[in-house]
Amino acid sequence: MSKTEMIALLLAGGQGSRLGVLTKNVAKPAVSYGGKYRIIDFSLSNCINSGIQTVGVLTQYQPLELNAHIGIGKPWDLDRMNGGVTILSPYLKEEVGEWYKGTANAVYQNIHFVDKISPEYVVILSGDHIYKMDYSIMLEEHKKNNADATISVIDVPVDEASRYGIMNTDQKGRIIEFEEKPKNPKSTLASMGIYIFTWEVLREYLLKDNEDTQSENDFGKNIIPSMLKDGKNLWAYQFSGYWRDVGTIQAFWESNMDLIQRVPIFNLFDPTWRIFTPNPIKPAHYIGPNGNVKTSIVTEGCMIYGVVRNSVIFPGVFIDENTVVEDSIVMTNSKIGANSYIHKSILSENVIVGNDVKIGVGESVPNDIKPSIYYCGITVIGESSYVPDEAQLGKNVVIDRFVTTDDYCSLHVPSGKSVFKGGVCD
């Protein structure tokens, strides 16, 4: 293959604000997931496993972690002489600098990147989803249908359909109508935010969209509807497999918990479709003489002296004697002291929990500052924070990033309360 047939553009600029303190400092695609991965690893691994060797990653919100994670693309075999991975961040033009205004605008601003490679097709991905998918099969469909655009869709339950962009198709699968979050959905085929475009066609519509001052410069809201209006050939590609938008604390927690089932509905053990990520340089993990781990996944570099149940444990985590961790997610290099109990919580990276601590206990009261984010009973502790000895944290509690023991007004933080860095006590 002398010419690059298809390249991928991965939209990784979103904050994912409903993940609360987890995305305060990183873009959503950079959030840790599944014991050793970050969310973006799934899209990137799908690319290389589908034979796509040129990937542009469009970043905007807090890109530092993401840039460091992707580097030159080595873990995904994307460190190439031809193609490989390129980080595309907003840049200064001759006179003015401009942020990416929307998903379509982000691609518009990088038309020259695509033109230089001049592929026949581009696949637009978002770095926000957990799934395994072979884009080359979707491309075959696209070519077979002689389509201008092919949109990947998934069947969702009827009562949830109004939360998605819904595609109405004819019997063969050609899209006849697109409705963004319809009140009375006519079908249950939801857009997964994965589009294959014939580049020539997309290019034309991006230029047109940029001229339109009324446009929100969004693929779902503007590009797709205007293509439909012009009678372009748009097809749906039905995907049936595990696909999750882990955009809320609840969905994020549930999707992590899907991995610990006896036969997980999402299988990471498939040797033909590996998920790649930069590997921690750490020894295999160690379970101590009194340690006990059940129904959980544990990664390299951990030292487990306590009890772990129904949990996802990231690299380098230390759990001391007589401590019980259950229904929780503990991220890289966090340390949990002795005689503690942690229930249904998410501990970010480098959290230090003292001895005799209880987290996630008491009745479930929604968080009083951000009830729309923290309401499902999960307590979240931001990166590099401390939980002092003998502290007791309720449900839906949020501990900010970099909180020290001095930031606690009281060792007892009731359900629904928050502790902030440099916070003022009542």
Binding site: L259, I260, P289, S296, M303
Partner: protein, 373 residues
Amino acid sequence: MKNAMGIILTGGNNGRMKELSSIRATAAVPVGGKYRAIDFILSNMVNSGITNIGVLTQYNFRSLMDHLGTGKEWDLDRKNGGLFIFPPYLSDDSSGWYKGTADAMYNNLTYLRRSSQEYVIVSVGNSIFKMNFEEMVDYHIDKDADITIAYRDMSDLYHEDLALLGIVSVDKDHRIIDFEEKPLRPKGTLGSMGIYIMRRELLIDLLEECIAHGNYDFVKDVLIKKLNSLRIYGYKFNSYWRSVSSIKMYYRCNMELLDPDVCCQLFVDGGKIYAKVKDEPPAKYNDEAEVTNSIIADGCIVEGSVENSVLFRGVTVKKGAVIKNSIIMQGSVIENGASLQNAVLDKNVLITEGKNLTGDQEWPIIVGRKTIV
């Protein structure tokens, strides 16, 4: 450390490693859940700032070459220096198979000549330890030595294992006054670690002289013969060190890694130990798992009971299986109700339902690669 290069000798096979080295060089023997023995010396060299490393290999080197690749995992894929692998070769002035350690280096004299570093660190490839060579080079310079040999008090080894080492005696100034290679009756407990530092030019001279006299072995024909004419000093090393040179030592070393203090010395303090990356998912524990005092690598699925054992990557332990004091290498499967005690399973072994294997506490039972029991 820009002024030193490394040579790692991995050539010899060793009958004392039984089935484990019948298919691989001893330096390629898997250790500690995810490593191969050579990872330790390579990482030590890299952590000491050495970036020009030659690996001399002969016996069953395919697995070693496969493991090392371009040296990417150790950051040794370099334009200047990096990793060089030297299997034996035939040419007008080369003899083909290496006849000994000195002969192996002599056959690659061009590499030594072309390198620019002032010092060379020659080491065996099958030791499990963490060491910074910068200190040893400084010591070598400080002592104004011609050759410096790392040694350690090995009184924590079995007596019969001492006979597998070189035993040295030192005077008050740490100068080596006696060196016996694999003595039947060791006179002391100070063992050579098989690590030698000298100036590169001196090594070239010594090798030329050795080969010209029809000799081939670096220890017997160079070090021991030059004890009086050269200033050969000992550098005392005090931390954890094991050589995987016999089944007993290998088994014991893996079991010792279950001690968190040993683990810290090797993996936490003073630099990382790098190994080939396998991209396995996190290890998965199901409801019935009972795991205590064990090392478990990524990619394992555990439903049985595991005690005092080391599980390498991608091992499956099914329901009702019981594993005690054992080492299970990559990709092996232990089926329902099987029981293993004091066993070492090589890669991709299958222990079928209800089978029972028990070895001795000091002499584990060895199951060769791809065996179906």
